[in-house]
Symmetry: D2
Subunit: 468 residues, 4 copies
Amino acid sequence: MSGPRHYCGVVGINAGHNVVADLQKALMIIQHRGQDSAGVSVFDGNVINTVKDAGLVQIALPKERIENIQGQVGIGHVRYATTGGKGAMNAQPMTMTTVFGMIALAHNGDLTNYQKLKTVYMGQGAVFQTDSDTELIINLLSRRMGQDQDPVKAIKAVMSEIDGAYALALMINGRLFGIRDPLGIRPLIIGKLDDGYMICSESSAVYSLGGEIVRDVMPGEVVEITQDSFKSYAPTTRCAYAHCFFEWVYFARPDSIIDGCEVYNVRKNIGRVLAREHPADVDLVMPIPDSGRAHAIGFSIESGIPYEEGFMKNRFADRTFIMPDQATREKAVSNKMIPIKSTVDGKRILIIDDSIVRGTTLKKLVHMLRDAGAKEVHVRVGSPPIIAPCFYGIDMKNREQFIANKHTVDEIREIIGADSLGYISIEGVIEAIGLSGSDLCLACVNAKYPTKIEGEEHRYQTRLTDLK
Amino acid sequence: MSGPRHYCGVVGINAGHNVVADLQKALMIIQHRGQDSAGVSVFDGNVINTVKDAGLVQIALPKERIENIQGQVGIGHVRYATTGGKGAMNAQPMTMTTVFGMIALAHNGDLTNYQKLKTVYMGQGAVFQTDSDTELIINLLSRRMGQDQDPVKAIKAVMSEIDGAYALALMINGRLFGIRDPLGIRPLIIGKLDDGYMICSESSAVYSLGGEIVRDVMPGEVVEITQDSFKSYAPTTRCAYAHCFFEWVYFARPDSIIDGCEVYNVRKNIGRVLAREHPADVDLVMPIPDSGRAHAIGFSIESGIPYEEGFMKNRFADRTFIMPDQATREKAVSNKMIPIKSTVDGKRILIIDDSIVRGTTLKKLVHMLRDAGAKEVHVRVGSPPIIAPCFYGIDMKNREQFIANKHTVDEIREIIGADSLGYISIEGVIEAIGLSGSDLCLACVNAKYPTKIEGEEHRYQTRLTDLK
Amino acid sequence: MSGPRHYCGVVGINAGHNVVADLQKALMIIQHRGQDSAGVSVFDGNVINTVKDAGLVQIALPKERIENIQGQVGIGHVRYATTGGKGAMNAQPMTMTTVFGMIALAHNGDLTNYQKLKTVYMGQGAVFQTDSDTELIINLLSRRMGQDQDPVKAIKAVMSEIDGAYALALMINGRLFGIRDPLGIRPLIIGKLDDGYMICSESSAVYSLGGEIVRDVMPGEVVEITQDSFKSYAPTTRCAYAHCFFEWVYFARPDSIIDGCEVYNVRKNIGRVLAREHPADVDLVMPIPDSGRAHAIGFSIESGIPYEEGFMKNRFADRTFIMPDQATREKAVSNKMIPIKSTVDGKRILIIDDSIVRGTTLKKLVHMLRDAGAKEVHVRVGSPPIIAPCFYGIDMKNREQFIANKHTVDEIREIIGADSLGYISIEGVIEAIGLSGSDLCLACVNAKYPTKIEGEEHRYQTRLTDLK
Amino acid sequence: MSGPRHYCGVVGINAGHNVVADLQKALMIIQHRGQDSAGVSVFDGNVINTVKDAGLVQIALPKERIENIQGQVGIGHVRYATTGGKGAMNAQPMTMTTVFGMIALAHNGDLTNYQKLKTVYMGQGAVFQTDSDTELIINLLSRRMGQDQDPVKAIKAVMSEIDGAYALALMINGRLFGIRDPLGIRPLIIGKLDDGYMICSESSAVYSLGGEIVRDVMPGEVVEITQDSFKSYAPTTRCAYAHCFFEWVYFARPDSIIDGCEVYNVRKNIGRVLAREHPADVDLVMPIPDSGRAHAIGFSIESGIPYEEGFMKNRFADRTFIMPDQATREKAVSNKMIPIKSTVDGKRILIIDDSIVRGTTLKKLVHMLRDAGAKEVHVRVGSPPIIAPCFYGIDMKNREQFIANKHTVDEIREIIGADSLGYISIEGVIEAIGLSGSDLCLACVNAKYPTKIEGEEHRYQTRLTDLK
């Protein structure tokens, strides 16, 4: 609810039929990963054609434009605009014409050495039309392919240059590749369709197309997706995973399975862990719709405290989500969430939110519950205190914005006006996910970055891509 | 979810400040009662000014137009377009200039003798620009006021002419009235604000403006709303209530209290009753989001069967709600609801829907659950089988559309593909609401109409408005 | 150019084919008479269906909406919004349902006793949804038809009640009537098509549909237009014409023939007369595009002074025409008209404008010519000084706006910065038109109104409609 | 009227104030050179900011976006979309970030060796996001600047690589350059403003900003525009001019002065020449509005035959101009032009069109005149028969489309239905312009190309840029 925003989602399909409608459907399924622009690129046997524009999938990819393109291989992208603007100009996939043909790229993530590489490369005569690291990746790729005609070799070479988080759907003419960064920070999964194969940021899109999950793309792996199969070009050695733990806590759809762990289950587990770590003597546990329901069910099951729907969410105010600035978003909260008086009045209530960035939304909700007659309001939070910026594709780059950086838990409790406040521990959230803590990126809650970040403590002193 | 659609919602405010923003906010709260057009009319001390247009409140009442009008007395309306079109032309409030000044009217309901009265009145020279019974009511009112200058007498006289369901917010120049039909079929409630009073279709709008509920407008009552108080012109005698039971089952917001019964509680009770009337040996009970959650929680509490969220709803597909035709709506279901595989797979599942009109949506959902691995799918329905049309303001006028009219419960079960199917009984739903069955309109489930309807069985042989 | 704005244009067609496209085409031809809204109503054999909206014909009547209606009888309307707004709500034709069926009306003109009649009629119980005299006419008509079933008698009765200027296209179910006020102030002409007949404000629309002009509707005449012919219900006596002289000077299209006189010819004659009344020793005569060309050609022919195009008009700035307020319009002039330096530089120039209301635009043009090097700038005006308001359908109701009311010709010359200024005389413009002066309405230039206007001098002391 | 379409227009300003509004105004003045997209780029002292979008200047550069950028140096562009689409993506100026800072480029023309250069350069690793030669020029420029930091040297180096027609407004960070191809095919002029200097495709824009013409940019010249002056980097030697003669005949505004010759005067001269080359015994000479007026005035003066406006042009149908395809445009003609019957009826008429590409529009006009009663219709054409494609920036690349390629003049006369048809001779049009024929590009009428074109006869066997 009050959590951070995400950057992007990608999809790529190679099948025995025109895949445009499938790409569109998949993008609607991962629409939560970006609402500012959407686009698809398909290879028609000759060239790559692209339709992309600002807005939700339904707006950006209207029937009359989508009908004009077709192809059995294609990629798609939904984008959350950070700086720069939401315009059509920044929509992806980005396409380029090279001596080897056309390249289309859809990118989810953030390169940490983007500025450095860009400067170096510009010094060699390269020019850039955008501020997007996607454009840099295509430039690097094109240069590498000039040195070695083999796309896979070129991709590997580019991967040895770039740092950070990236999940890529890449098309070189009619060849489709899925690429995941060496630590697997951003998710990417392989699916099998009736007459083809696909890659996507989230597994739900695979199901929505009637397909089956094959497996996650491995960290550092390049997979070439064909109509009949897929071919893996894995890293020769590996020594580390760093899956973003926030995908499970907040970003991904509940029905997605990421690196083997289903999001809905993880969220229920978080509720269970919270019930053990921060029990409370309350009358009922309430979710903050829609993102907090699984957490609350888990807490209810573990604690035996009844689960109730105590907030009425106004679905017509849901446009809030696409309101650009924080101020507008917060102002919209009071129209969006209304307590159900009879559920709340005279009760001791516990609510669970997925995370706290600034705390402003939560403060409003607590006050609304009190106004509606709640005797006590207890807050539990499904992620540990956020204290450090994310450089891997999440829109929380500014340390100043984190309330947990400036205040103790008790101070935060007082600011938001709760009777008690409990964050899940780092150990707790690791347990809830069920993977090893060393396989997760927890940088935003423990300030230890999995890749080298100038001026920050990082887990690995060498560039990860060197670790072969 | 698969239930019928509603017509309209109304609001009226008289307060010590410019009420335009309050009207707008209240309309956003009752937006679920109509998404096709919205409008507000305010009296500026001299004339009534109106802003209205097609679309959601945010679209129809944009800042730049709303800023141009002001007044301390005003009414508002949201509308669900049935036949005729969604255009700006049909938006309410409807306003007219008469010899007594300006009249503005916002109407929720349906007059059952509209065509008859219109024909009679046209025979006397009246002309009509629309097919709306709202226009007829204003015409009748104007004529009555010509005979007797007193607005209340005129209103009463009109009420003795018209039959059917109506909840009206009426402004005659700067005087504001709330009017409810003699059986109280459609809801209307009085609220007290900091510096004024209001009427509205649903109590949640009162809370959203920081006010307190005073009481429901009584069946057949006219209330004049002033800044300091309200004055009641009650019917001298009364002998019947006929509150639409569907308001609790499906239409109204969970957080609204209608005729003393909170909607959320009624829905939980429905779940409890269903658990007793149609128990099931299943692993978990799942709501159909968003409307079915309270039902499912009630079933879970009564039965002890765990409550789980097993459907993921795509909020970006929520535009479905404003899709005009049935076909488009149904096609959109599969993008909108996706089962969470881990919750569903291998389980015996019970889902609760609020009602079944055609059954097509439910059929899709059952199949989706089976595809996701559900071992058994049991369906419970929060209203008795719908078998008769509604003539009181709900968009289900055609007997042919009701699956329960053509099939037995077991046939319906087979059609939708469920392992078991249980409708709540008429007695059960009466118990869940907590009012006397004779005080409810249950015509759509028992075919006994509270007012005289040509060709239908009706509870009262004389016109109800004669029952003084 | 700097002249007043017009109200409306009407059309009606009865033919052996679906007339929707013809109505649309005719409205495009008379689009200059109103750009704020457009609409068509057609009778499909059963009911009258209407499509109307704000905007130019192309915008208001889009293909997808127009395709949904059809009929062999129909009317259309283009409207210039004065007060009140340009919204879809005020678009015409206006339609009403009465006991006799459906009525649709398209109106060009202004009733001078509108407020009086409205008040009287409201006293009898009538209600009004708009501030439009069109609504009043339909109400009166409906009432009269209640007394006497014959439409023609009812129309005649209404004509005996209303005063002012009106040209009407009226449909009563499938019967089509053309009606012109008793003085013939606004134009209305009958045309013959291949398989039908039509009426229209301007003859050019008849030609554009491949038809032939039959004759003008006579003052006070009602014509019923059928597929095979038309039937005239003429006034039994008549004693006066008062055709608005401004239709020839400015409003109508050059290619239209109004009451026997072709507009283009009249305008050339005006130029000739001006050359005689106000000769000038100049190097060249220049039109102000586009409206002044015929005037300038006439002046050139009569005087022997060369005609040159010295203003370049920016067609992309032509949207000026649909800019609502005077200020915006004036500001736009300098982008819209640019002198051609080579034509103008060092020359003594004479320009002709059709009329002067405020004089602001003309002042700008004179200055622009001087800036471009003109040695002298002489101005001739194609209408006498405008000194009195129009109550017959032209948007110049406020005496204060007329520069000729506050200043002598020489003062005006100084204000606009011209070397000489000559208005055509009243006699001159009468000569140019070629009709008798007593058959023209010259009220705006001689302040003598053809109908009774409270507080104004009028030519006829009794109501004209009484003059039988 | 029936002539070819143009590509683009450019402007660049360096002045002592924020130039955004001036750029916008200048673009509106040259809007006729491209209506599909518009854009401006300004340097704010630090970076270059750009606003550009599809549509007319008024649409593409709305107030709210224009207000957000500012700078004292800037360039602008209007674009006519050929293939590829009209979308925002193809709007100019195009901007790039290089190691030397930001580059913005606005381009009017066509590179004849674009594909060849692009292929070569891609072979060296360059990638291209568009099919636009503008992108190629920036790439070349960036590479050259990497070799030699001096912008002027880099520009000169690029000019030695590229062939064809180009008039460029170029910004490298805050430095502004105007560049014209070595033959001066496309126009570009230098103007002096109150507090700055500018370059523009047409001189009218200079006047519209209150400035004075300084001189045309010379063929092959690079000028750097500063606030106080401009600095010329002329080619060391030159041997040829090849100004596109069509700029005078059809493209440019009448009030523009190109390479010393005013367009309006040239067009009058064309009329005079036609009167001598192809005299006719007719009653009147009529222009085809709006482009043909000057031609007709010239013909009238030379021949003594009266000039009349015989076509009424519907300004509301003027959107035709922005209709994309030929078919739609032709269909729109009949709504757009209507003969004035009284002028035409019974007369022998001569009309002058600027050029004939396909002849379809002209055929319609001739028929319309006959239908309106013209006894004879004679056609004169202001350019010689078009027989060869243009490779220098005009949208007539397909030889098949030219009627004069397939038919003799007499056949064309018969096809269009005229009584006589006369094209101006090549010598005649040269005389009318007043420059030497060897200084003009007449390739589309004599098939002799000024630069080397594969498979075509060309005047110069070596690359022109080698001729130093």
